[in-house]
Amino acid sequence: MIIVIVILAVLLIIGIVIYNNLIGKKNQVDNAFSAIDVMLKKRFDLLPNLVETVKQYMQYEGDLLTKVVELRAKTASGQLSPEEKIEVDKQLTTTVRGMMVNVENYPDLKASQNFLNLQSTWTESEEQIAAARRAYNAAVTSYNDAIMMFPGNIFAGMLNYLPMAVLANTQEERKNISAKDLFNN
């Protein structure tokens, strides 16, 4: 009789641990996603400043600037879904990178301390977003492993947990960032 109770108790404890583990992994994924969100917000907050600084010098790069202003308006609307935010960020990265390359043609801008600070903060935020995306992918992988493998898959079925997709790495994330490539200097 005692043996049966012990076995039941052990099974119950194992069950609780597996259940909690699954919930923990799911929360980690949500948490990691909100980390991306925070980093994106940080990046979008830089935009007004960037636009103001660049506007003074880069009169002739109208197209790029207009694009950035448009994207900034989108981020400021506050109605973007997380996926849209990531998409806007992708476009921003390309556009701002194009702008940074053209800085070569504007010696005054290149010499501006304000701009230099913005430039390094921008790259910093880019690296942080890349890190947050990698953290998210690691959390998703760990969650997917947990819900697909035995015995986690039994609980996952009951909880209706489904596998999630990892974020695809962009070409930029895969290659090493170097000051030379970025700023052409």
């Binding site: 583990n21 600070n117 390094s120 890190a131 947050a132 990698r134 953290a135 690691a138 760990s142 895969r174």
Partner: protein, 323 residues
């Protein structure tokens, strides 16, 4: 900026010639004192063997021993002078030949508090010594390295109720630290993946409740890196901000140049790296000629290697807001 090798050679050569003469004096003194001590032991041995003349031989032997020990302590004093001269002149010149900014403090090393603070090793040391500290900068990055020997103690009870102390090495080798090129707030530690840490990491991943410290296991994407190291951090995102794919590759490369697996920690905007080593560096030879390039060559290789880390890990690229 570095001095051409030929210039370094001529300035070093005359110093080495002077020191070589000093080395010979110390060497002769040591040999002399060992011979006298040996002679004394022999005399006592003969006395004991012959039996009849034990008093005569005993006294003669004891006098020889006393004389031998005095002479040995003299030799020791001159060896310390020689060692001092070697470190001050030869090692300092060697450092300047690599970069003018490098300075050498052979009496001091990494403070024990900082060694513990670096979190490179979990075990707290009970006995700690550190010396031969080198300071300098390579480009924009300030760095330092020193020889460290840290041990911990265990006690066992002997059969008759006494206690016996056992000393175990936590780490022996060189600890390098440098100003890291990115800002961060948390703690990230990269330790060699041995059997114990692999089991610890398995538990930390499967059952987070069993994680020993507040730091979480960080699973990274680089399989070579994951095979070599176990990473813990107080912040998953920050750990990846520091350990970018490029940085992981560079750390693997750096590790492949070290005989034993390195440990790395990132804390308080500094990066610490521990290189376990078998031998002491920056020590003068006594029984071999100083003019034999090999011994100093090894010291120079270590200095160049440490100096090269900044370049190798690309710590001078400062595009992330930290100047």
């Amino acid at each position: 900026m570095s001095i051409p090798q030929s210039m370094f050679d001529t300035s070093l050569q005359s110093t080495l010639n002077d020191l070589e003469a000093q080395r010979k004096v110390v060497y002769n003194l040591k040999v002399k004192s060992f011979s006298i001590i040996g002679g004394g032991i022999l005399l006592i041995g003969i006395g004991a063997f012959l039996g009849t003349l034990i008093l005569h031989f005993g006294i003669a032997g004891a006098v020889a021993l006393l004389f031998g020990f005095i002479s040995y302590s003299k030799a020791d004093t001159s060896f310390n002078e020689y060692r001092h001269e070697f470190k001050q002149k030869v090692i300092s010149t060697a450092l300047k030949s690599i970069d003018q900014s490098l300075t050498f403090d052979y009496e001091n090393g990494l403070r024990e508090g900082e060694f513990i603070f670096s979190q490179l090793f979990k075990q707290k040391p009970d006995r700690y010594s550190s010396q031969d500290q080198v300071f300098g900068s390579a480009g924009k990055t300030r760095f330092s390295f020193s020889e460290v020997h840290a041990e911990y103690k265990t006690e066992t009870r002997t059969k008759n109720g006494g206690r016996q102390e056992h000393w175990h090495t936590i780490f022996k080798g060189i600890v390098f630290y440098a100003d890291f090129n990115k800002h961060f707030n948390g703690i990230t530690v990269v330790r060699p993946k041995d059997f114990g840490s692999a089991i610890g990491a398995w538990f930390a991943e499967k059952i987070p409740l069993f994680s020993s410290s507040g730091d979480e296991l960080v699973k990274l994407e680089n399989p070579d890196f994951e095979k070599l190291f176990v990473t813990y951090s107080s912040d998953q995102v920050e750990a990846r901000y520091i350990l970018t794919p490029a940085m992981m590759e560079r750390l693997c490369q750096l590790d492949s140049k070290s005989k034993y697996t390195i440990s790395v920690s990132f804390i308080d905007n500094q990066m610490y790296i521990a290189f376990p080593l078998d031998k002491d560096y920056f020590e003068p030879p006594l029984y071999k000629s100083l003019l034999d390039q090999k011994s100093i060559g090894e010291d120079l290789d270590v200095i160049r290697f440490m100096y090269g880390i900044v370049q190798e890990l690309d710590l001078n690229t400062r595009i992330w807001g930290k100047q």
